[in-house]
Amino acid sequence: MSAVSTSPVIERGTATSRIAAIAVAVIIALLAVAPHFLSAGAVDRITALFIYVILAAMWNALAGFGGLVSVGQQVFFGLGAYFAIRLADAGINPFLALFTSGIIVGAVSWPLSLFMLRLRNGEFAIGMWVIAALTHLLVNLDRLVQGETGTSLISLNVYDAGARRAAIYWLALASMTALLAILFGLLRGSTGAAIRAIRDNEDAAASVGVRVTGTKRLLFVLAAFGIGIAGALWLATSITFQPKTYFNVQWTAYMIFMVLVGGIGTFEGAILGALVFFLIETWFGGIGVWYLVGLGATAVLFSLFLPRGLWGTIEERFGLRLLPVGYRVRFPAAADGDAMPSPPQATPYREKA
């Protein structure tokens, strides 16, 4: 680029991001054909990974971009599974029920958002937890669920086990890709600018005419929808529905862990966090309670010492941007070499919404 040496360069895509875009397409294509070559156990595990990515990306959308930390997101996970059970019981095809369920969860979250989004910070966080606890108790009252005994998505059993496994795998892959694409599109569009403005400073954003509440509501409903789909998919993989398992705050703990470790407020961070969580779970999940202690301790340490997470730190240090959702300003002097002192208030690679 032949930019005038005094004016900063504003760019969105970089050479790395163009390579990354191709890599993403290749990875998705490879994942799509993977079930033909993998064992049944591996297919199940990777399906779980897709669900984790959905959970992390949706919690990140809410907390990292909307500034809304919720510890009650398990309510949407549980409702996603519950509505799928209800719909399948009403005679709807179980695979169709999974998606209808997600849409219903999204619809339910709309009126809820009118109310909950008026709470701030910690009040919102625990307020959502109360909603989750109450919803759990109410679902337990449903005769179909039989309290904590639970029930199953029996109508899935009519499909052959192998075909069912592959179908759920592809559904999870498709859902993950679609949800990530929606989020990516949202963040790159004009709403994205508003979202990042709110993330950085809510009051300032409001003062320049950003529709703060409307934008937050959009993220809230999107997160509810995505997590609802994730809950329904989890039900499809495990068949049984026990309210205690689905409405467990542990799901939110996982989401927080993934996003904190990966990098809160970065698009790639949530995906990286889900991958890290998946690997940790695969290697250490068997050791039980110490594994959970380790997850909690890691979350505490990241929040104290590395609040930007792994990806946020990498991004800051190397100016790497794989899937750019914002623009960034490159100061001309900085464009020449890597080893140069950065100006005190602006690093050479500074993201601007």
């Binding site: 009040e123 625990i126 109450l134 959970l292 202690v293 997850l295 929040s303």
Partner: protein, 298 residues
């Protein structure tokens, strides 16, 4: 029915005990400590361990556990909350949530999944009751619990309004920077406030253990009760917390009357109704859970 109402009011004393530390910390440091309930359960386990292992009565055990809780509060503020609060309002939520997971699972690792109770270690107090006119039986423990809540809230109020330390904590909660200008050490005031909050948590944990059973994962419901009572109590004096606790307990009692599983549902619904009314009348959201008492008591 009047019997149940009285039981409900007395149970409200417990909720006020567990809520007052949460809202105290919030009003001073603007932090909602998500590990609040887990720390109360930790205190209950500490008392249980002292009683089961060394035959120390829980009331004597408090002499060990309450100073320990105060120390924990100090450490918590200095090493965790202070640091994470610098990263904005959202980070302490994540830090304390992570801490809650660590505490819960360490307790599980140490004590297993069994439910415990302090009731066997306090003799006849756990089931003794007084007969009041109209053949109403009230448990002695419930009355002691309620009286403790009243004394604690009143003592805290007096401390905040009539002592130098209390005034410096109030000044810090109003405006830490200006308080610093007039010579108040905000870091110290915050650490002391956290210690006080943890002492109330320790006391709440003791009563939790005496009046019912607990297990390593009992922290989450305690946190929700504390939060609900504090929000229902709302802005104003510390006495609001007591009213909040009583309202919560009465709603639960009413819920249990309506449906066998309605106890918890009743409490949650009452909380949401109060929240809804408050949000729709003020239009501003909750402006903080509660403010510290101003110069004039009550």
């Amino acid at each position: 029915m009047s019997n149940q109402i009285i039981q409900g009011i007395l149970l409200g004393g417990y909720y006020a005990l567990i809520a007052c530390g949460l809202s105290f910390m919030f009003s001073v440091m603007r932090i909602i400590n998500l590990a609040h309930g887990s720390l109360a359960v930790f205190a209950a386990f500490a008392l249980w361990w002292l009683a089961a292992r060394f035959h120390i009565s829980p009331f004597v055990g408090l002499l060990i556990v309450l100073p320990l809780m105060a120390a924990i509060g100090w450490v918590l503020q200095r090493f965790l909350l202070e640091r994470s609060a610098r990263g904005g309002a959202l980070l302490p939520i994540l830090t304390t949530f992570g801490l809650a997971i660590v505490i819960d699972n360490l307790l599980f690792e140490q004590f297993g999944a069994d439910t415990r109770s302090l009731a066997p270690y306090i003799g006849s107090l756990s089931y003794d009751s007084w007969e009041w006119p109209g053949s109403i039986y009230v448990g002695k423990l419930a009355v002691i619990m309620f009286a403790s809540a009243v004394i604690l809230l009143g003592g805290l109020q007096l401390f905040l309004t009539h002592t130098r330390l209390g005034r410096s904590i109030r000044a810090t909660s109003e405006d830490p920077d200006t308080a610093g200008l007039v010579g108040v050490d905000a870091r110290r005031a915050n650490a002391i406030a956290a210690s006080i909050a943890m002492v109330t948590v320790g006391l709440a944990g003791a009563f939790l253990g005496m009046r019912s059973t607990f297990d390593p994962y009992a922290g989450a419901p305690q946190l929700l009760f504390a939060f609900e009572a504090a929000v229902i109590g709302g802005a104003g004096s510390l006495w609001g917390t007591l009213i909040g606790g009583i309202v919560l307990a009465l709603a639960q009692t009413l819920g249990a009357q309506v449906h066998p599983q309605g106890f918890l549902i009743g409490g949650h619904v009452a909380f949401l109704i109060v929240l809804f009314i408050r949000l729709s009348t003020s239009g501003l959201g909750l402006r903080g859970l509660q403010r510290l008492p101003t110069r004039k008591p009550t």
